[in-house]
């Protein structure tokens, strides 16, 4: 119980993540160079860019899956190198891009894996853990198939199940690597609405890697754009969706068009 409360009173700052002059080189190839960005707390921040721009690598650095070659990254004002053991996964949850089918687990069992940072390898799976799992299942609306095995789900359902696992982890920040990559447009909207709701109503911070600039503009509060491992643009969707900036990001001529029902214009290549 005490542990569960601690998640809620994480250090209160305006920044979830702050990265400072990060560089990453793998086998001599520079993947990221001199990246400095802030990720405000309570916002959905999108990382966009062309293929190989380093957006996934940056997300992996935030998730501590990769260690930057130079520079430093901090979460909640604390350097990522200073987190030990299960402190970090209690604060930050990460959804990788390629997900397995989950070795014959049911959805409920998969979601329960998210409680590992709290109970550890040997601890008791308590009533609190069970409550959190049920709450996560309810929040993602997957009650209907909670007892089916992961392998039997469709792509959209599987993404929801994994996001439920991240929610059960009870972290204040979610890092999502292209959660909509293999989904059709209806499921993309579905998953991204869920993510937005989780951030704005649940008080969580989200960093999400997205391919589609229009989806990013529609569902995110802020967009960081990378090109060739460097930051080329950063701002609100309205600031990013201008032809010059889009050209700087993707390297092709793009136009924007305003649509009556949407607050942001739509971008398209011309």
């Amino acid at each position: 119980m005490a542990m569960a409360e601690r998640a809620q009173d994480a250090p209160d700052t305006t920044k979830a993540f702050a990265v400072d002059r990060i560089g990453l080189a793998i086998e001599g190839n520079a993947i990221l160079s001199d990246v400095s960005l802030d990720f405000p707390a309570g916002e959905v921040v999108a990382l966009v860019g062309h293929n190989g721009s380093g957006k996934s690598s940056l997300l992996k650095i935030l998730a501590r899956q990769l260690t930057p070659t130079t520079g430093s990254a901090a979460y909640g004002g604390r350097d990522l190198r200073h987190y030990h053991g299960r402190d970090f996964p209690r604060s930050v949850a990460y959804l990788p891009q390629d997900l397995g089918t989950g070795s014959d687990m049911t959805i409920r069992e998969l979601v329960a894996c998210g409680r590992y940072p709290w109970h550890g390898a040997l601890g008791q799976f308590s009533a609190v853990d069970r409550e959190k799992v049920e709450a996560a299942i309810a929040a993602t609306h997957i009650e209907a198939f909670a007892d089916r095995t992961v392998g039997t789900l469709s792509g959209g359902e599987r993404q929801r199940a994994w996001i439920a696992m991240l929610i059960a982890q009870d972290a204040r920040c979610l890092l999502l690597d292209e959660p909509t990559a293999a989904l059709d447009i209806a499921h993309q909207v579905d998953v991204l609405s869920l993510v937005r709701k989780l951030a704005h109503e649940g008080g969580r911070s989200v960093v999400i890697v997205l391919h589609d600039i229009n989806m990013a503009a529609r569902f995110c509060d802020r967009i960081h754009a990378l090109k060739g491992g460097r930051v080329v643009a950063s701002g609100t969707p309205a600031e990013i969706l201008v032809p010059e900036t889009l050209h700087a990001i993707y390297g092709i001529e793009m136009e924007v068009i305003s649509v009556p029902n949407l607050s942001n214009p739509l971008a398209y290549p011309c």
């Binding site: 970090f88 997900l99 397995g100 089918t101 040997l122």
Partner: protein, 655 residues
């Protein structure tokens, strides 16, 4: 045209260097005879040169080329950098067929050794490739099932040889790949056969090189995939069968030669198929002539095949980091069915079954007349004192193997992973071999040596895969390489004809014959402690199959947990191998049956695997003791003989 290309320089240089080395070594071999005075009339030296040494060198060149070509074809058609006649079980299948035929149907050998060998290797290839086809030819699944077949065939032929050693002593030397020749008959006939298959290969090089594009792309270009695959696999199998039938199993040339070709710059399929046989021929030529030089008079009996495996496997180990393996861990098979029952039902059934088997095993036996007896009355105490240790040792070992198998299958995400395949069993065998040949200690001493051997193999495996954070695929490959090497060393030791080899064989066949009360209680105690530790790690085992990134994202220390779990599996295997030998396959069957019964999470699966594994081992011991009473068939042999085919059927039935 080909010779002009820049990227042919590397492979060409490799062939040249290997050939130079081989020529120098063989010059030293034949030089004394050539420089000796020519005696008129009866000249034994010269006859040996003409009818033994020269044919042997020719055979080495031909066999090397054929095996390398076979390996290159397998690698190209299965798009798997690890495929070769050894790793796919093809050579072992041919070997087993020849052993079985010479034992039980010697008349068939008259019809043609080639035919028998071909049937054996074709059966092995059909099983392995058929299994691989359903897994989308994932390299690891394919090689693992190939190794299971290979281990099974190899173990079975070794044990058959041991049980009938009076008849098969020379077969054993041949089986380990001896190139010794008495005339030009074999090299000449081999040359014709290889030339025939090579011509077929030349015809399919074009469509074969399109396979690199992937299945759908190549078939959309007009390649008839199924026909091409069958044809090429057929060619490769035929080549391997010809060589095996002529000179026995020569390990790893088919793997090492294409790997050398690739590393030295051959890139396109045509280059691979042209350069690999040349490198293979030069490589085996060099190995064999150096071996003859060094071994002197013993050279005729020291099987070159075993020696190539001894040198080939460290090379494979060294090459591991450079091998680009495109496929990652094979995902678990998606199954559409719901779980039918709670986990309690199968666990209870397994427990009850195990108890019944143990009780049967303790109290039922066969009397001196061959009739079945239930133990009671005056001899109860005496006979139980003899039987109980064997039963409980088998139980403990089986349970440990079952749990070790579950751990390995979960860690590697591969359902064909097992202690046998990881090479830990082979390490223990090696320890015992050293103990028997060098020190000849009692049972406790053998115990110490077996544990040392197993731990050393485990240490080498872990050290060589440390850089990859103990990524499961690297660990498996390292284990494969090491177990091949250890097998080869045991093969060399056995082929010396030393009587101690018989002791080793008996131990390898998994007899509980020597187990006494102390050993059994130590075994059970070790088993209880290690299994308890494994059960404590259930959370890791639940989450690790989700993949490296999700596991570390929820805070599991990857390197540390993998190291601990591999170590635990290694210890359990070492302890179990001591009493039931290295070839029981219980570590493969236990976890499988548990999962088939619906025990899918780590804790129930391990408990189920322990119960089922223990029960199976005790059952094997009971069958081995009673089937042909008063003789005993070793428990390990029984479970391997029955279990492995059963498992293959189980796996092939399920889609």
């Amino acid at each position: 045209m080909i010779a002009l290309r820049h990227d042919n320089l590397g492979p060409g240089l490799v062939v040249f260097l290997l050939l130079c080395g081989g020529c120098v070594a063989s010059w030293f071999l034949i030089q004394p005879t050539l420089w000796g005075t020519v005696e008129p009339g009866y000249d034994i030296e010269r006859m040996v040169l003409y009818y033994s040494t020269l044919p042997r060198l020719a055979t080495a060149l031909l066999a090397g080329a054929a095996l390398a070509l076979s390996g290159a074809l397998f690698q190209q058609v299965l798009r798997n950098p690890l495929a070769d006649p050894t790793t796919l079980g093809v050579s072992a299948g041919a070997n087993l067929a020849l052993v079985v035929v010479s034992l039980f149907m010697p008349g068939l050998l008259g019809a043609g050794r080639d035919l028998v060998a071909l049937l054996g290797s074709a059966a092995a290839a059909a099983i392995v490739v058929g299994f691989g086809a359903r897994r989308g030819f994932s390299p690891y699944s394919l090689v693992l099932s190939g190794l299971v077949v290979s281990l099974w065939c190899g173990g079975l032929s070794a044990i058959l040889t041991y049980l009938n050693q009076r008849y098969l002593a020379s077969l054993f030397i041949w089986g380990a790949g001896s190139l010794a020749q008495q005339s030009w008959v074999i090299p000449l006939s081999l040359a014709w056969k290889i030339a025939g298959v090579a011509i077929v290969c030349a015809l399919v090089i074009r469509p074969l090189s399109l396979l690199d594009l992937g299945e759908s792309s190549s078939s959309s270009l007009g390649v008839k995939l199924a026909r091409l695959r069958i044809l090429v696999v057929g060619c490769a199998v035929t080549l391997a069968a010809f060589v095996t039938s002529a000179v026995g199993v020569i390990g790893f040339i088919g793997l090492v030669a294409p790997t050398l070709a690739r590393l030295s710059g051959a890139r396109r399929p045509v280059q691979m198929i042209v350069w690999s046989p040349l490198i293979g021929a030069a490589l085996l030529f060099l190995t064999d002539s150096v071996l003859q030089l060094l071994a002197g008079g013993l050279g005729d009996f020291l099987p070159t095949g075993a020696v190539t495996a001894i040198f080939g496997s460290p090379l494979l180990l060294a090459l591991l980091p450079w091998l680009k393996v495109r496929h990652r861990i094979q995902q678990a098979v998606v199954r559409q069915r719901q779980r039918r029952w709670s986990t309690r039902v199968p666990a209870t059934v397994a427990l009850a079954g195990m108890l019944v088997i143990v009780a049967l095993s303790l109290f039922v036996g066969r009397g001196p007349g061959g009739g079945w007896t239930v133990l009671s009355g005056e001899f109860l105490h005496d006979i139980l004192a003899i039987r109980a240790p064997k039963v409980f040792a088998a139980l403990g070992s089986g349970a440990m193997l079952g749990v070790a198998g579950s751990i390995l299958q979960r860690l590697t995400g591969n359902e064909m992973a097992s202690p046998e395949v990881l090479g830990i069993s082979a390490g223990a065998t090696f320890g015992v071999a050293i103990a028997l040949f060098a020190v000849a200690p009692g049972f406790a001493g053998q115990f110490a040596f077996a544990v040392t051997g197993a731990i050393m193999v485990l240490a080498v495996i872990l050290l060589s895969s440390r850089r990859s954070n103990f990524a499961p695929e690297r660990v498996l490959l390292a284990g494969i390489a090491l177990s091949a090497m250890v097998d080869a060393v045991v093969g060399v030791l056995s082929s010396t004809g030393d009587p101690r080899a018989v002791l080793l064989m008996r131990w390898m066949s998994g007899s509980t014959y020597l187990v006494d009360g102390t050993t059994a209680s130590v075994e059970v105690a070790i088993g209880a402690v290690l299994i308890a530790l494994a059960l404590a790690a259930r959370r890791w085992l639940d989450i690790l199959p989700l993949g490296a990134a999700p596991s570390s994202a929820v805070g599991i220390p990857l390197a540390c947990s993998r190291l601990a779990l591999f170590g635990l599996a290694g210890l359990m295997t070492a302890a179990a191998t001591l009493t039931v030998g290295p070839l029981s396959f219980v570590g493969l069957m236990g976890p499988h049956l548990a999962r088939e019964a619906g025990l899918t999470r780590a804790l129930p699966q391990m408990v189920g695997a322990a119960l089922i594994g223990g029960g199976l081992m005790v059952l094997a011991d009971l069958i081995g003791r009673t089937a042909v009473a008063p003789y005993q068939i070793p428990a390990g042999l029984v479970s391997a003989l029955i279990g492995a085919p059963f498992l293959m059927i189980l796996l092939s039935r399920r889609q």
